[in-house]
Assembly symmetry: C2
Homo-oligomer: 200 residues x 2
DNA sequence: CAACATAAAACTGTTAACAATATTTATTTA
DNA sequence: TAAATAAATATTGTTAACAGTTTTATGTTG
């Protein structure tokens, strides 16, 4: 397993994404470039890059000459639409990989689920959310590479703002086991059903 | 009609988007920050911002410490998936606005179609593409504001790389008339059918 | 000549100072 | 006092210099 080297900017982006998803940075909170620069021990340049990125992901809202603030969660209607879009993308991905995915790769996914399980037990919901995203990202990347990730990621990350299900669903981990098991059996129908059940 | 003030960065982004969509900047073309800065008469800072944005939109691919280059068009499979996603979003938008859209707004859309018609006659296909996007963006914005635009835009803009239909379809302008007419009659079914016909 | 090591050039990443804009505070005026 | 105006402050936008990395060119050695 490769240890993934992340640039300074990507690491900062990850932290801020976590802060927003966890609610630590509440909607409408205004971000100050200088404060963030001091917090992360860098200059304003990289901070501005991160703000641009998160704005494009929909987590922040930016106004010219005024700055960026944390966006509000999606309206119920848009949340519902996002679920439909995610299903379409992930069903596509399942179909694309189910014949070719190797047992090593399936084991890798098992490992991610184990991590999810641990975080769930410890009630570390932000980390659980990130592991959840990592799980789905894994086979979506397999299916369509960076291009498919680009279509998928902004939808998922946006859905995760104020995502309460992660804290209440006891079946969440099992749902992911079902997905992997269906893939292991090369059973498209079951796999797609498992995906559909999980995405809501 | 408001004359929309665009920041320097947004204007540069628009130009580069056009260059990529038109094919003037071919896939795999490497972008040089210094050259672009000189071309637009700014420093590297704003150029880097634009590159980040277009990378997030999927038009460019960036590698750490190496730079950005023009992405390749979507594979046929991903293009097909994108069409499905776009349909889902735009059908949602049509349903959301069809009862409340005003005649002024419908006339506005007629105006955009007129622009499309002109560009089509003059075979200005890049401008035609931009007007096409403007048309759809108009009612999607009405339906779901900036949040929905954020979900929709990266999909559409990515689809437009090497989009040949724009040059060959003589029915393209009429398809848009059909959409507006169905909306004017508050006929959801016809409107959705018109949208479905147009998105391909 | 080919493979490898080394030096130079080109390019991206980062920083800090400066400019322009927006916001807040203080002052004036009716 | 309240509204309008002006000064001060804070914040974002831009620039140019510097640092670090990658790529290219050059040279060395087997």
């Amino acid at each position: 397993m490769k240890p993934k080297i992340l640039s300074v900017r990507d690491q900062i982006a990850d932290v801020l994404r976590s802060d927003i998803i966890s609610g630590e940075l509440a909607p409408n909170t205004k971000l100050n470039e200088i404060q963030l620069a001091e917090r992360f021990g860098v200059s304003r340049g990289p901070i501005r890059d991160v703000i641009l990125k998160l704005t494009k992901e929909g987590l922040l809202v930016s106004k010219n000459n005024v700055g960026a603030s944390v966006n509000s969660p999606l309206s119920p209607e848009l949340q519902k639409l996002s679920i439909d879009l995610r299903k379409k993308i992930e069903e596509f991905a399942v179909k694309a990989v189910i014949e070719s995915i190797s047992s090593d790769q399936l084991n890798e996914m098992d490992g991610i689920i184990d991590v999810m399980h641990e975080h769930f037990e410890k009630q570390e919901y932000t980390e659980l959310t990130k592991a959840d995203i990592t799980f789905h990202q894994y086979f979506i990347e397999l299916a369509g590479g960076e291009n498919l990730i680009n279509l998928w990621y902004p939808i998922v990350i946006r859905m995760r703002m104020n995502y309460q299900r992660i804290k209440t669903s006891s079946t969440l981990v099992d749902e992911h086991r079902d997905i992997v098991n269906a893939m292991r059996e090369r059973n498209v129908k079951d796999a797609i059903n498992a995906i559909r059940k999980n995405i809501k």
